[in-house]
């Protein structure tokens, strides 16, 4: 079995809760009754370390939102940096990272200002930590965690959310997973740009330049880890989007064999089918789509693809039948295509769990 299958098993063919992981933190926003007692920062860190994520996060949201809290944090970070207290900085970074993640969630009552406060806290702590331990395993995992959030949540690429990636590439230039995350970012930017050009930093429309950058990063990732299934999948997809069918096909073909985990295989067949369809190889494209159908419980995209091809081919009754089946998928579970569009989000649960474990050691 190709490398990557084990990772994929965390969402392939399973309901939503398993697919991307039922997130273990379930934040409760601060209540009015708790706001009069301002928590001590050290207590919040201790609470977080011992597993009281909800309490620690809601407390730090209140603390950071005050001017006094901001100054306290700045002093605290400066002191830890002077004393080279990497462990405390890692703990604090995770606490504020979780607050920032929830700060733009609807359950948080922070508003934009409160969210930015958390982002600034994350930045302050991260800068200090990076100065002390730029290439640590914790920092690497944090980069991957954060990138999964940026892509999964569709965060607007403002500097406080987006510019950690260049730092990650600088500190981990040959790391396969960092390169994959970076390549995925550019593919994702192309995608959101193609859907809504105004969201791009340049303000321009979607651009092949982003796809070419993605290809470069994904190729470097593949060099670092030739067996990574997801890297080949994304590389094949991006090459297809650049109309480079000849280079895309060899990336996708190996993913369509039975030994590949079903969710990745499903996507490989879907992407290969589209490539073949664009080449005018209707029968082969049809076969690819049909092979994808049934590999995962929610295979809506493959059925829609097959229906569209039949419709284009003049097989209207077949198209109607296919679309009827696409409209009758299970109410739960996710089509892997929907997750693919969320970039590195599928990594979120694992990264978060790893990061929490690291700071609680």
């Amino acid at each position: 079995m190709m490398k990557g299958a084990g990772v994929l098993g965390s969402f392939g063919g399973r309901p939503l809760a398993c697919a991307i992981g039922l997130l273990v933190f379930c934040h409760v926003p601060p209540t009015a009754g708790r706001q009069d007692a301002r928590p001590r920062y050290a207590d919040l860190l201790a609470a977080y370390k011992t597993g009281d994520v909800d309490g620690a996060v809601s407390g730090v949201m209140r603390l950071t939102s005050s001017g006094e809290g901001t100054k306290t944090l700045a002093d605290w970070v400066a002191n830890r940096r002077r004393s080279k207290d990497v462990v405390s900085l890692e703990l604090a970074l995770m606490l504020h990272t979780e607050a920032a993640i929830l700060g733009f969630g609807e359950s948080a009552a922070l508003g934009l200002g409160g969210w930015l406060d958390q982002l600034r806290a994350v930045r302050r702590i991260f800068v200090a930590l990076r100065a002390l331990a730029p290439r640590s395993a914790f920092v690497r995992n944090w980069h991957l965690l954060w990138e999964s959030v940026v892509q999964g949540a569709g965060l607007s690429p403002i500097s406080l959310t987006a510019d950690y990636l260049p730092m990650a590439l600088e500190d981990f230039p040959n790391d396969a997973e960092v390169l994959l995350a970076a390549g995925c970012r550019y593919e994702w930017l192309w995608w959101i740009g193609s859907a809504n050009p105004r969201r791009l930093p340049s303000g321009g429309s979607s651009s092949d330049k982003q796809l070419r950058t993605a290809v470069d990063l994904l190729r470097r990732s593949r060099t670092a880890d030739p067996a990574a299934v997801v890297t080949r999948l994304r590389l094949g997809r991006v090459l297809f989007l650049l109309d480079d069918f000849d280079r895309a096909e060899p990336e996708l073909r190996p993913l369509t064999v039975a030994t590949v985990e079903p969710a990745w295989r499903y996507l490989g067949l879907l992407f290969l089918g589209e490539l073949l369809e664009h080449r005018g190889e209707t029968a082969a494209a049809d076969a690819a789509y049909e092979s994808a159908i049934g590999l995962v419980p929610v295979d809506q995209s493959a059925r829609v693809a097959a229906a569209q091809l039949a419709h284009k081919d003049g097989r209207r009754a077949e198209a109607a039948e296919d679309i009827g089946r696409a409209l009758d998928r299970p109410e739960t579970g996710l089509d892997p295509w929907w997750l693919y569009l969320r970039g590195q989000w599928w990594q979120f649960e694992d990264r978060l769990r790893t990061a929490r474990a690291m700071v609680r050691r």
Partner: protein, 322 residues
Amino acid sequence: MTGTLSLLSLASCAAMVSLVAQTARFTTGVAAVRVDVLVTDRGRPVTGLARTDFELRDNGVAQTVTDVSSETLPLNLLCVLDLSGSVTGLPLANLKDALAALIDALAPADRAALVTFSHRLHLHTRLTGNKALLRSLVDGVRSGGNTSVIDAAFAGLAMREADEGRTLMLLFSDGRDTASWLTARTVLEAARRTDVVVYPVTARVTNFMNMTVFRPNDPLTVVPSGRLRPASGGAIRLLDAFADDTGGRMFYAEGEGGLRKTFLDVLAEFRQRYVLSYTPTGVSSDGWHPIEVKLLARSGQVKARRGYFGVTPGAGARTPPK
């Protein structure tokens, strides 16, 4: 997504209007072709026209319009409705209210189908004339998730049944596509291969706050907070293209009760359209047939499909000209 914009600058209706018709029943070369046409004058539908009021060309060859009908054919109404995460609370209640009014307004011979979408497509019922069932299904719909408007539009097109009825797709969406497999270009091409007339409806909202909401335990829902969001520029162009290519018209729902009124306006306008019938002469039965329709000896604008595709089943994939 690529190439979508290239399809969006379709010719507007002028004195001579490019149309698209269709015909899935065009298999022998002698079958009648029907073209669903809206005639307006200063924005208001023109009624009372006869076949002699129209000039129709198929592939540039003048044809004889043998029949003009209006309101005589039963209506197949395909309701394809956005139930993504942004359509919650009051917007969802408004949508249900509008649908209930629409169902009440259907004639006895009319049928309706109900398809909803978020990222997931769901068929609630195929075409049925059972209004009680339709009301019950509408009452039970729930919202949440991302938006697959492109896939949903295709589903509606592919569901078009080969009967004698006229098919109206009411495509309600308020946001950009975030989850479809198909591209806009692909589905616009599919639209040109059918005779479904698409009337997209979207919301126009003022004081819109573009604040993203992210649900950590529901990553497929990333929606603006607050109220029903207006469709973005890209979404508007897409919906507009569906209307243009199929001969329909885009509607905007505004204000309190706006959606109910808009849905009823769509139905009323559709009933005021004409169905022109002709048997093609002097043209091949195969391939793409651009159609042009204009009014003779009177003013007004004509809106309908730009052409149709004579399809030979299994003859291989075909793509209408852009």
